[in-house]
Structure formats: structure tokens, C-alpha cells
Symmetry: C2
Subunit: 257 residues, 2 copies
Amino acid sequence: MRYALLLGYDGTLFSGWQRQGKGERTVQGELERAASELFGTPTRVTASGRTDAGVHALGQVCHFDAETALPAEKLCLMLNAFLPPDIRVYKSCIAPDGFDCTRGAKRKTYCYRVYTAAAEIPVLDRYAVRILGVPCLQTMQRAADMVVGKHDFKAFCAAGSSAKTTVRTVFSVEIRVRAEKLYTMSEIYVTGNGFLYNMVRILAGELIAVGLGKSTAGLEAALASGNRTCLSKTMPAKGLMLETVEYDAPLFGVQEG
Amino acid sequence: MRYALLLGYDGTLFSGWQRQGKGERTVQGELERAASELFGTPTRVTASGRTDAGVHALGQVCHFDAETALPAEKLCLMLNAFLPPDIRVYKSCIAPDGFDCTRGAKRKTYCYRVYTAAAEIPVLDRYAVRILGVPCLQTMQRAADMVVGKHDFKAFCAAGSSAKTTVRTVFSVEIRVRAEKLYTMSEIYVTGNGFLYNMVRILAGELIAVGLGKSTAGLEAALASGNRTCLSKTMPAKGLMLETVEYDAPLFGVQEG
């Protein structure tokens, strides 16, 4: 039987999603250890997509196959008993026929967060990156609108990717800027049918650069030429959060987004 | 010469503000060590108010006395060079004549954060406490309005306080409830001229209980009788954040709140 999980993690102390060699702490490694202990047999866990070292997840989706008499909706609580507190499974269910959490993912939403302040703010700095200057919301949103649609995002892909095609569809990019007394928080929400390696971190870096005064010529050239060097540098991992993953039908009720 | 600092800290790994015995990591201990190293002489640092173990600060204000030729506005950066990353000084300046950051504090704002979700959410759980059930915003706000004004808050004071009087003025209590896809976040902002030991954590616990269905009779009785047992239990430290401290005149420009 195949099961689906809705879960989140604080990526700070993980070497990313993907299981690695001994001594590397990974989300997949912890989940597979927990599932293997719970079911008493080696269990592989697959995610909707791998997240890099230091990237966080609010609403990741996974699946695994297991033979168990335990009730599906209780598996989340039982897995949590074997997991460290920086991973928590929110919901579990029997997956629909033919479900594959990776291939079935239709829409993913990531958020990249930066803040502007006189110095690093400790209570923000775990999930956002401090930048110098307040980016202009309208300028960022106009630039963001240029990447919406089906494009070849080759320029937004870090070296070392094994993707077969670099064409992706971005459904929306929504910028939110919120001025508080001690800081200004800028959030870039990107929803697409899939993302290339480092794509959101490269896009976020370019949109922030444009919001701070860079011309959109680099962004236009990147989309036209596929040349990575037109764009700003990749933003750090800690500002990135996988927010939600969506499938053709809701898996866990209305809440998974 | 007296100097004032605007700073913040992540309280997770601190045994509170106040310097303690060897082996206890405190914010005051770290700041005094940093200032003593910078100035080459033992330096005492005073805060607007002590925060308990595990309580966070977005905008704490401190002062210290030092003889130095270093420019006042650069002291924040220099102190940061001696501080761990979970404490950051945002601004520094020469304090106004007669300034005392404790006695001079006219308004303090704390925020208590709780969230409702199917399980603990790792990326929220450092600065907020998970509760069961979504509290009703309107019910909480009506109860919150009952504590606004000058009252004897004796019932809201944990045992062991050395306060001379338990009368305090609460200027405002503002409740915000925000429903997201995977959770609902409830924030209780309390502004007053000062707070008793655990007062915000006790008040937050009672307002949440009322928001979840408890009658306001306990709150009314607590205000009338001063009896701690009328109220719900003290909420955990990690949900509490010292947001801002205000003085008669702005110390660091407009930003300190």
C-alpha cells in the first residue's frame, strides 16, 4: 500500500532532503530511519522534490510504500515519535491509485524572504536574509510579471543540473513588502509547475537587484539567451521556504494548499 | 559617558537576560563580556527590563557607562564583533542627560504568539506555541479590552515577584488572527507602562482560554480580587517577544518604535 505524508522541516541543521553518506544529517535519512523503525523493515521515502541544504519546508509532500495494519491517519503521529523536532509530519493518508508525489505534483509554491534593517535581527535571521536597501515593490512586481508564463529558464539554472528540459511554467509571482518599525520584510512567492536547480534563489536575487535599481535588461536577456551570467548571484538557502505542493485532487482535505 | 543601545536576541539558548553563575548563558553576561573586551575594562550593562529564560527580544534597549574615544554610532558594529549571532546590536548613541533605560521606559510592547495546526510546525515553533483550537478573535478582543487601563494586576503576577506595587497601566491590547493554508496564527500585542513578573504570559493564557470558550468571569474576578487562581496557567516562554520599548523622546531616530 502507498501512503502520502504532509510534513514540514526547519532546514537549518540539515544537509538538504537527499539521503547522503554517513554523518550527513538529511530529511530523507531521518524520515527513512523513522519509517523503518516504525514498520520494522527498510522503507524508502520519496519527496515531491528535493530541497537543498539549509532550505526550509512549510508544506512538503512525500510518499512511501509499506505493508501495515496501522491506521493510515495515525501514521503521522507515530512517525513523529521517531523523528527529531525539526521535522514534523502533519497528516498521513492512503495515497490515491497510481499516486506518485514527484510526478503528480502540479503546482509548487516557494517563498523567498529578505529583510532590510540596521543590522541582522536574530529573530528574523533564521528564515530570511538581510539585504541593504529597501527594494521597490512596484518595480519588483513589474519585473516578476515578465517571468510569468512558459519560458526556457536555462539562465536560472545552476551548473550541475541534470534536468532534461529547462522549460518551465511559472503560474504567478507575488511580491509582498511590509514595513515594520525596526525592519522591512520583502517576500517573493513563486508558483510554478516545477523549478530547476536553484531557480527560485536565482530569480529572487535578480528581482531584488531590480527592486534596488538594476535595469530589467539582464532579466530580459536571460530569458531570451539562456545565459546565466546576465543574472545576479544565487541567494542563500536559509531565505527559501517550500510553502505548498498541489496535486490534481486534494490529498489530505482542504488544508494542504 | 552613558551610551544607549537598541538590540535584539533570540532567547532560545539563553537563561534569560540576567547575569547568573558560571555556566549559565545570559544576554547580560554576553553583552557585558563583549563591552568589557571592547573597552578593556569591566563594564556593566543595564536593560529596560529583564526577560526570562527563553523569551525573545526584537527591540530591547540597554545602557552602559564607558570612557571611550570610539564614535558612539559605531559602537553597535564593534560590539557585534564580540557577540554571538543570537544577539545583535542595531544602533548605539550617546544617551540623553540623566537617561536611565529602566526608569525612563514609558511604554513597552510585548507580543505573544500561538498557532493552531494539525501538528507542531517546525518553522513556526521557535517563536510561537501550538495550541488546540482556533481562538475567536472578537471574543479575545472583547476580553482584552477589559484589562486596558490602570488596574491592580496582582492576579497576573507569578509568585516570587519583588514588585513594590502591582498596579500597572495597560495602554492597549491588540489581537490579530491570520488564517493561512496550513495553520492559523494568533498574535496578542500588549502595550503598557510596565509589566509584572510573567504578567504577559499569564494574560495571554487567559485571553486564549477565553477565545477558546472560557467565560470572562475568571478574568473579571482576577481583576477584582487579585487572586491568581482565577486565571489560566502561564504560557511557555518561547511564544513571548519583547517588541519595542519607548521613551519620552526618540533615542535612535524614528525606528525604535
